[in-house]
Symmetry: C2
Subunit: 252 residues, 2 copies
DNA sequence: CGGTGTCTTGAATACCATCAAGTCTTGTGG
DNA sequence: CCACAAGACTTGATGGTATTCAAGACACCG
């Protein structure tokens, strides 16, 4: 408990205290499923037994074209949905944060169409797809949470399309950081006073998410730091000048 | 009836014969809703009365941030979902073809988050959202059609992300054309022998969909034509050398 | 008939990629 | 504990792809 690596320390308390202590428990499926569970007959559970899985950083969580009879939800850590191209280049479709359903399409389609890679160590639960579907309309709260997740997933995909199609490198990177910060704030994962946040992304992650090269990401980030708008150190990030940074990002 | 513009001629027979003659009737919601209608009590209809609307080419169908209590489905013509940026540039999120739900998110969210513009003259129907939702789980066929539409919508968005992030101008344009051809083939809208298809897109539409400028789109298309891989004339397009064109597109 | 929208082509420029070399950190096996 | 390798990041030089700017051809329409 004293000289452990950083990531494990952040995950341990949740494992001990259970899902209710999860930062994102209220946000997505987990809370709705827990409440629904009370009304289910004994023995019928939506969550798959022993579904709590841990994957080390940089490991593949799900492979492309894997078949799933379950819907996975991230409990702790960061992951990424990635498409691999034949020439070896990669495109990150989305970053997965605690509370995120890996893909809402998995509720109806058993085939994943991209791979999921752990960025930090990742813990996830899995819910039985058939059981989830069967209970969707009996439990309005579940359906509502689910449709929200789906709408947000699609909205973020659409945003990314606009960013990749019509924005400069600086805008793309700034918007990526701001969008991640926004999602972390909603999970209570940004320090209230300092506005500092965990930022485990490597520059190649940023490159693969923004359609740039790692070299160019490095140059833009250096530019941001020299300008004093952000600070990055020790896998954490602070937006020092939110007004200017949002102007760079062309937001608001 | 004798000297009408071209587009109206193509739509008229469908208006007369009703929805069952629509090229895409089997593909999406329309068929499932029609079949469901038999089992509904008198007076309860899912389709909104007089919901058949016609919008001329180049006109806006739905405005950004419009509120909808209905789910619109394209019956005839081409449209585009578009995001406008503050500097005046545009990004097309998707092209809407006959049979397409304008946005599957509209089943749960009344707010559209992009605008829809008619490319050709467009005819669409609207279904009552509350009635649709209420019947989703009573009619498995409806739910299945709907989840398929949603999965395909998301898969196309993800494809576009990869294209914009990691592919060259030639690849993007070739893949756009091939993807449209594929969707038209499924609707029976590609001439069986000649493989010719209607192609009402202006070059600025291609530019806005691929994140390029109209000038560069013109240059790439000219290159394709000079190479003899495609033929474009009179708002119709033929892929002359499918093998080579797919190689350019990096498909298969 | 001028006006508008569409497309083409060429020249100059900008943005980002590629290539390359070097620093610093992290991890690992001897 | 050190040596070494691999990964992560930085920086500069060079190059290519796509943009911007500009001018002209052509069709269509009121």
């Amino acid at each position: 408990m004293n000289a452990r690596p950083k990531v494990v320390e952040t995950i341990e308390p949740q494992l001990k205290l259970g899902c209710a202590s999860c930062a994102a428990h209220d946000l997505t499926l987990c809370r709705a499923v827990s409440e629904m569970a009370w009304s289910l007959p004994r023995g019928e559970s939506v969550e798959i037994q022993n579904s709590n899985q841990i994957v080390p950083a940089r490991r593949i969580v799900f492979r492309d074209h894997d078949l799933h009879d379950a819907v996975p939800v991230i409990c702790a850590g960061w992951a990424a949905s990635i498409v691999l191209l034949s020439d070896g280049s990669r495109q990150i479709l989305s970053f997965l944060l605690p509370g995120d359903i890996v893909s809402t399409a998995l509720l109806f389609d058993s085939r994943a169409h991209c791979l999921v890679e752990a960025i930090t160590e990742v813990r996830y639960r899995t819910f039985n797809r058939a059981a989830l579907k069967a209970n969707l309309y009996k439990h309005p709260d579940l359906l509502e949470k689910f449709s929200r997740a789906w709408i947000e997933e699609k909205a973020r995909a659409d945003q990314l399309i606009v960013d990749l199609g019509r924005r400069t490198a600086e805008e793309r990177i700034a918007r990526l950081i701001l969008s991640l910060q926004d999602r972390l704030v909603r999970r209570g994962l940004v320090h209230a006073d300092t506005e500092e946040m965990d930022f485990p992304l490597r520059q190649h992650h940023i490159a693969d998410a923004t359609g740039l090269t790692p070299v160019h990401v490095s140059k833009v980030l250096s530019e941001f730091r020299r300008g004093g708008v952000i600070k990055i150190s020790e896998r954490s990030l602070t937006v020092l000048d939110p007004v200017r940074f949002r102007r760079v990002a062309n937001m608001r």
